[in-house]
């Protein structure tokens, strides 16, 4: 296991709080959007962009960049907040999420938003798209890696399993999947809606290298990506055990916040909670 220093982990945790505050702010202003799955996805995406991936916000089209594809496109606020904090575009854009005549669409659009790799929002496409980017990398003998985040509910889609077969068939070891395993989708618990277990065995039986970690532990996340990058001849799937709505007490594990934004009171409480968390992290050794 590669151990990362405490300073780095602290920095990542603080960045994650900042992103969570952006998300709450954005959704409150937009009066629509998806808090639950945006919040559960934060820590892994923060680790990718602020620590692990090779990328340059000044050169979003660099052919040698690592690529991240958000297949669960409804977590767009997380991606937008991360891209803005990285410097792909002005933080001011975040205030105008989902507004007319503005850049940030309800779901990611590759054409108009710097740093967004794929247009997503219709579930089940992103892994196939990532396969394409990984195949191109192999063909061009480039060193970049491709990362793709899937929602757990999203893996109900048949196309995911077509893509799972193809990635394994083509030995796409430059591809790392991230499964946001928060156990909730719109209609309820994933195991009640359409059983997914055993998730781990499913992916490994499709020929994937599977790692299962706490999806909110920066140390574990950083170690997992470090491990999958070096893994050969197989694609890797990092199962991120996460909490839907993570970071805001009343949103955690609450399916009602899948696609409903906070009202004014909820917004205030959520921001206060995140402020408290931020101060706690800042004060920590």
């Amino acid at each position: 296991m590669n151990s990362h220093d405490d300073e780095l982990i602290k920095k990542l945790n603080l960045t994650a709080v900042k992103i969570r505050k952006h998300i709450i702010e954005m959704l409150y202003r937009a009066k629509s959007g998806h808090p639950g799955g945006s919040l559960s996805a934060v820590d892994a995406i923060v680790t990718l962009y602020f620590h692990h991936m090779k990328h340059n916000p000044k050169k979003p089209g660099d052919p040698n960049r690592d690529r991240f594809i958000l297949s669960k496109g409804h977590a767009a606020p997380t991606l937008y907040a991360v891209l803005a904090e990285c410097g792909y575009f002005d933080l001011k854009e975040l205030k105008r999420l989902r507004e007319i005549n503005c850049m940030l669409q309800g779901h990611p659009v590759s054409q108009h938003i710097p740093g967004v790799e794929a247009s997503t929002g219709s579930l089940g496409h992103g892994l196939s798209f990532a396969n394409g980017a990984a195949l191109a990398g192999k063909l061009d003998k480039k060193k970049y890696n491709v990362y793709v985040m899937l929602g757990d509910g999203e893996t109900d889609e048949g196309q995911i399993w077509e893509a799972a077969s193809a990635a394994s068939h083509y030995k796409l070891d430059n591809l790392t999947g991230m499964l946001d395993r928060n156990f909730l989708q719109i209609d309820g618990h994933t195991e009640d809606v359409l059983r997914l277990e055993s998730v781990r065995e499913r992916w490994s039986s499709f020929g994937w290298n599977v790692i299962e970690i706490d999806g909110h532990d920066m140390q574990q996340i950083a170690n997992a990506f470090h491990g999958t990058d070096g893994h050969e001849k197989q694609p890797s799937m990092v199962i991120l055990n996460t909490v839907k709505g993570k970071g805001v007490s009343f949103m955690e594990n609450n399916v009602d916040f899948h696609g409903v934004p906070p009202n004014e009171l909820e917004y205030k409480i959520a921001m206060e909670e995140l402020d408290v968390l931020q101060r706690k992290l800042e004060d920590a050794q």
Binding site: V109, S119, A130, L135, Q159
Partner: protein
């Protein structure tokens, strides 16, 4: 005189090989039908740039978009029925909405698929593809034009769809007679001032046959090959409306949403009324049978074109 028959699918395969040399960034995908679509010809020549995706068309289309995002010119092929309806959402999101440089080249379009029956006779593909923003749509009429259109698809950026039939097709253009095709243009193959027949795909040949029969009776038809359905040659359509007494469209496709719809939309909107008739599959599923019998039963033979023209002349 018997017609020279060439299969447009073979023309596609041969052109891919030529383009593979010209464009090192051109890749080809197929969904377990490479022997039928003829992408196998490219696969043999450039095995590392060919990706067999198996019977998984949705994955093929989204993967094509991923490859295109890395600078590849991507041709994805399968039968028209699987290349459009089955993967509509993938094309909509990953190809059209993303304005990806993906070229969907479908074979086995229309009823001339024949004996496989209605399950495999795609008569809605042009309609499905042309409603997508950014998407360009082509229906070449013979092997030579197929070559030119495939070249055109490779050298122009953007999402494009083209369909050809399964069967051998009479050669309408000699190779040297058609050096290039232009996106958004139609071709007047034979001129006349009585009635314009605007056709695409296999129906161009039927229209030419009909023209010969009608000439014997002194009726001079203009035959237009409207291979570029989106964008379409609006100027030429309006010219036909002004210069001839009526327009007939004919296509191996449903009368709803295809070439006939495009032409009628333009005529109506440009306030350029003229007598007008759509020929196509009249909102039904067809059946198994020999292509010539199907054309005869479902109203798309040269004789049907003759009858329709005569009716319009009255």
């Amino acid at each position: 005189m018997s017609k020279e028959m060439v299969n447009p699918r073979i023309a596609y395969g041969e052109t891919l090989i030529e383009l593979g040399k010209k464009h090192p960034n051109l890749v080809v995908l197929d969904a377990d039908l490479s022997k039928s679509t003829k992408t196998i010809m490219f696969a043999k020549k450039y095995p590392n740039r060919f990706f067999e995706m198996g019977i998984a068309e949705a994955n093929m289309i989204s993967t094509a978009a991923g490859l295109a995002s890395c600078g590849k010119i991507v041709f994805a092929s399968t039968f028209a029925v699987f290349a459009t309806g089955r993967v509509y959402d993938q094309i909509r999101m990953d190809v059209a909405y993303s304005n990806a440089n993906v070229k969907i080249f479908a074979t086995h379009g229309g009823i001339s698929v024949g004996k496989d029956g209605a399950s495999h006779q795609m008569i809605e593909d042009i309609a499905l593809m042309r409603v997508l923003p950014n998407m360009m749509v082509f229906a070449p009429s013979d092997a030579t034009q197929t070559r030119r259109i495939v070249e055109c698809m490779a050298s122009n950026y953007g999402p494009m769809y083209a369909r050809v039939g399964r069967a051998n097709a009479p050669l309408i253009y000699k190779k040297d007679d058609l050096k290039e095709v232009k996106i958004g243009k139609g071709i007047i193959i034979e001129d006349g001032d009585d009635i314009s027949i605007i056709a695409c795909g296999t129906m161009v040949d039927h229209a030419l046959d009909a023209r010969k029969l009608l000439l014997k009776e002194g009726i001079k038809t203009r035959v237009v090959d409207m291979y570029s359905i989106k964008p379409i040659d609006k100027k030429l359509i309006l010219k036909c409306a002004k210069e001839t007494n009526a327009i007939i469209t004919t296509e191996e496709h449903s009368i709803i949403g295809g070439l006939g719809s495009v032409v009628s939309e333009i005529l109506a909107e440009e306030e350029c009324p003229c007598k007008f008739k759509r020929m196509g599959i009249r909102d039904i599923f067809c059946e198994s049978g020999e292509p010539k019998d199907l054309f005869a039963k479902y109203g798309l033979s040269a004789n049907h074109v003759v009858k329709t023209v005569k009716k319009m002349m009255k």
